[in-house]
Symmetry: C2
Subunit: 358 residues, 2 copies
């Protein structure tokens, strides 16, 4: 820790983010409600709400009469007090969204990217579209195909893009944009969007994305899960047919090759069933209780995939799984990238800030 007094500050930040997280899930709230939900004393909540009001994150919006006694002040989040920009760098297009603190998408633009674009070309496009979006964001999030290193901000080998080998994209973008930048896999950004919008009940979920490849973003135990090399969720390249056709990844009978082959043959139902088998495999492995379906290719026939998935999931008296389509549709990746920025700044920190990696 290089800043003195860090530990009490972390305690304070932790409690503040706890209250912000609660504020995001409720249209309105009062002091007693926050105290009850968080376990803090009402007086402590007063102090926290005072600080948050001072930062403009929260405001009083009325009083609540509940019979006898002095009416309680009603607070609410000020969604417009903070903004973030999220970017989805796909293979041919750049999608840029502006979101507010509540996770609402305020603006969304799509511009084409040059074929087989270079890092420089992407940076130019990002700067152009970010400037055009405006909004004075607290940061910019970038969602992109992997493999990449989230912690280091380096793109190892963007799939099907020749000019991308160990590119320090986060650092480059940070210099170009002069705001904090987060880099993450597209699917992880996507599941963050769902988790951010659906609140703390969404503790374990997977976002299944079918869009020039099949991948999954994982949200496990209340946080984005990326694995040891930011490469978790490559479930398109799990084998479901040992003697199946050869896949580009080197193995045979991968989910992706079987799915894509069926789609190419016009057998969409079979493709959806194959995907559903893979999803149930994922459920067996991770035991998430929320499945979110997303991706351009999937959302062209949402009802087919949704039905096949629901049909494939077994039920029991103690197990339940929700299957839904991505609420934000095509914006989900970009919006999630923006929410990762907000999450870093206003979300509940996963550690207390002390290095535990000794």
């Amino acid at each position: 820790m290089d800043t003195p007094g860090a530990h009490l500050e972390h305690l304070r930040d932790y409690n503040e983010s706890l209250v912000v997280a609660l504020a995001r899930t409720r249209a309105e709230f009062d002091r007693a409600g926050v105290a009850e939900a968080t376990g803090l004393t009402p007086q402590a909540v007063s102090k926290v709400l005072g600080r948050l009001t001072g930062q403009g994150l929260v405001e009083i919006c009325g009083v609540r009469r509940q019979g006898v006694g002095k009416p309680a002040s009603i607070y609410r989040l000020v969604p417009g007090s903070r903004h973030a920009v999220g970017i989805h760098a796909a293979r041919r297009t750049l999608r840029t969204v502006l979101t507010d603190l509540a996770g609402t998408v305020l603006a969304s633009t799509v511009t084409p990217l040059p074929p087989d674009f270079t890092p420089g070309q992407l940076l130019d496009a990002i700067r152009r579209d970010t400037d055009r979006t405006g909004g004075d964001p607290v940061g910019v999030g970038i969602g992109m195909v992997g493999p990449l290193d989230h912690a280091a901000g380096i793109v190892h080998d963007a799939h099907r893009l020749r000019h991308w080998h160990d590119v320090p994209l986060r650092q480059l973008a940070q210099e170009a944009l002069a705001v904090p930048v987060h880099l993450d896999k597209d699917v992880t950004a996507g599941v963050t969007a769902e988790a951010w919008r659906r609140g703390p009940t969404f503790r374990d979920g997977a976002l299944i994305m079918v869009e020039s490849g099949i991948g999954a973003g994982l949200w496990l135990g209340g946080a984005a899960y990326r694995g040891a090399h930011t490469n978790a969720g490559e479930f398109g390249h799990t084998v479901v047919q040992l003697d199946g056709p050869r896949c580009v990844c080197g193995r045979s009978g991968c989910l992706e090759i079987l799915h894509d082959t069926a789609v190419a043959a016009g057998r969409l139902g079979t493709a959806a069933e194959v995907l559903a088998t893979g999803i149930v495999n994922l459920l067996r492995t991770t035991d998430v209780n929320h499945v979110v379906l997303a991706g351009a290719d999937l959302l062209r026939h949402p009802e087919v995939y949704e039905h096949a998935t629901r049909a494939a999931i077994p039920r029991s008296h103690w197990q339940d799984v929700s299957v839904t389509l991505a609420e934000l549709g095509a914006d989900v990746i970009a919006a999630g990238a923006a929410m990762q920025v907000l999450d870093a700044a206003y979300g509940i920190p996963s550690t207390m800030g002390v290095r535990a990696s000794f």
Copy 2:
């Protein structure tokens, strides 16, 4: 929160457990080393070490001369200051171990269980073997086949045991033993043992267990991962052959049925290759960088499985995966159950104690 002052206490507990965690990974340590590793100031470390010494968890064991200046006091963990009992309730045997605070197995016993034993029979056996083990444990951990609910301490339907439907085993055992009891799936307990012994570098790992069924215990992001219904890691019932033979779970071509069929036919190499395919699927999904092989059936031919697994895992310049056998062998489940008790009492808490599930 029902206890006042809870939040500052949590800060204190957090820092204390941070120091204990560090003490577990180092034979000896001094104030400056802890301060450097944790980010706390030396004076804060003094206070923490003073409290831990008072609790008997840590002791001074000498001084270190490093040239000029006053020598630094050398501290070390007192492994014998705390003990825990771990229990592995398998289908036919009850394994009971006693471990110390460092995770060393001090005693290990195996006793038979009646065929198709009842909850009452298991409780009797647990009480008997726990009493016999002695050691005044801080708690008892039970590792068992699922499905079960870790948080509620309820066994839903122990696989292949008829008398087990929604049994509140944790509560029953707690009343019978008069110490805190933890209940978890066997594989999760097992991976906890590996993680506890290998320290903070083991952040993402999977323990593969082949023993009357195939399962995986997951350790993701530095903590045991159980999923939404304590049912994560059921990877024996992931489909790897869409048109494969029917499995007991209702689907076809599960990893387990293919593996067991090959073993029954004497084709151990094929069985190991099938398992290895499943393991690579697991790596694709979770991106863990540690694979631990365990289970009685697997450890009968460890080299076959180890070789097949190593051969199946692709390598790249940014990706590395370690494949090892369970260090504790047959004790791994029971020892892990004991370490879960120690982890709850002396491990780094995952939350700051405030309810965030509003």
